[in-house]
């Protein structure tokens, strides 16, 4: 889960290995806000798989790559 200057740099870094998924950092920030926003809340509870999947789905991170186990 790394940061790159551009998609070209991702391609160069992969060096022919199977690709994963790339999103821009604006989307990453949205994801981080939704995923970690309550991490320090006194009433924090573990999310269910469905709750976590909903966060991904609502940000358009769908498909088999983004499907939690």
């Amino acid at each position: 889960m790394l940061l790159f200057r551009s998609e070209d740099h991702v391609t160069n870094w992969l060096a022919g290995r199977p690709d994963g998924a790339t999103i821009n950092v604006a989307k990453l920030a949205e994801l981080a806000n939704a995923w970690w926003g309550n991490r320090l809340a006194p009433d924090w509870r573990p999310r269910t798989r469905e709750e976590s999947q909903s966060i991904l789905d609502e940000l358009g991170l769908t498909g088999s790559f983004w499907t939690l186990g």
């Binding site: 994963g20 790339t22 983004w66």
Partner: protein, 150 residues
């Protein structure tokens, strides 16, 4: 990913551990956590092990390795926020520290390909460098198979 459960005592321990991580700017020791929570050091370690098994935090040799998004050891992702500095486990977690604290943050890292230093300012939950990209190599169903690698 399983719907993990934690009992109230372990949730209290988890929350106290996170509070210490934030306050200290580093991972707390079992002794420090025991002192704050009124537990024995052995009791803290037993609770941490249960939390590790429930994905509430990540241990390495009995010590805290990750209390996501915070990393116990130096990583290529350093985050300044609220006048303090922490390390994050990955690019996602680097954005997660400001998100968890609900404050603006600055992320210091580098491009994983060319290693050019990157400094990302996050204001109001939005980065100032939207041309950068984030890459995930491991598919979501396998994230917890080896969370260190992920």
């Amino acid at each position: 990913m399983i719907a993990w459960t934690m009992d109230a005592a372990d949730l209290d321990l988890r929350n106290a551990t996170y509070r210490l991580f934030v306050t200290l700017g580093r991972a707390p020791s079992a002794w420090e956590t025991a002192t704050v929570t009124g537990r024995s050091e052995a009791g803290v370690r037993e609770g941490w092990r249960r939390l590790h098994d429930a994905h509430g935090l990540v241990l390495d040799g009995g010590e805290i390795r990750m209390a996501n998004p915070f990393a116990a050891q130096p990583t290529p992702f350093r985050v300044e926020a609220a006048g303090r500095s922490w390390f994050a486990n990955c690019g996602w977690d680097a954005f997660g520290i400001g998100a968890a604290l609900h404050v603006d943050s600055t992320i210091y890292t580098d491009c994983a390909d060319c290693h050019q230093p990157l400094e990302i300012h996050v204001h109001g939950g939005r980065p100032d460098s939207e041309d950068l990209v984030f890459h995930v190599l491991v598919p979501a169903h396998a994230w917890w198979n080896d969370i260190g690698y992920t």
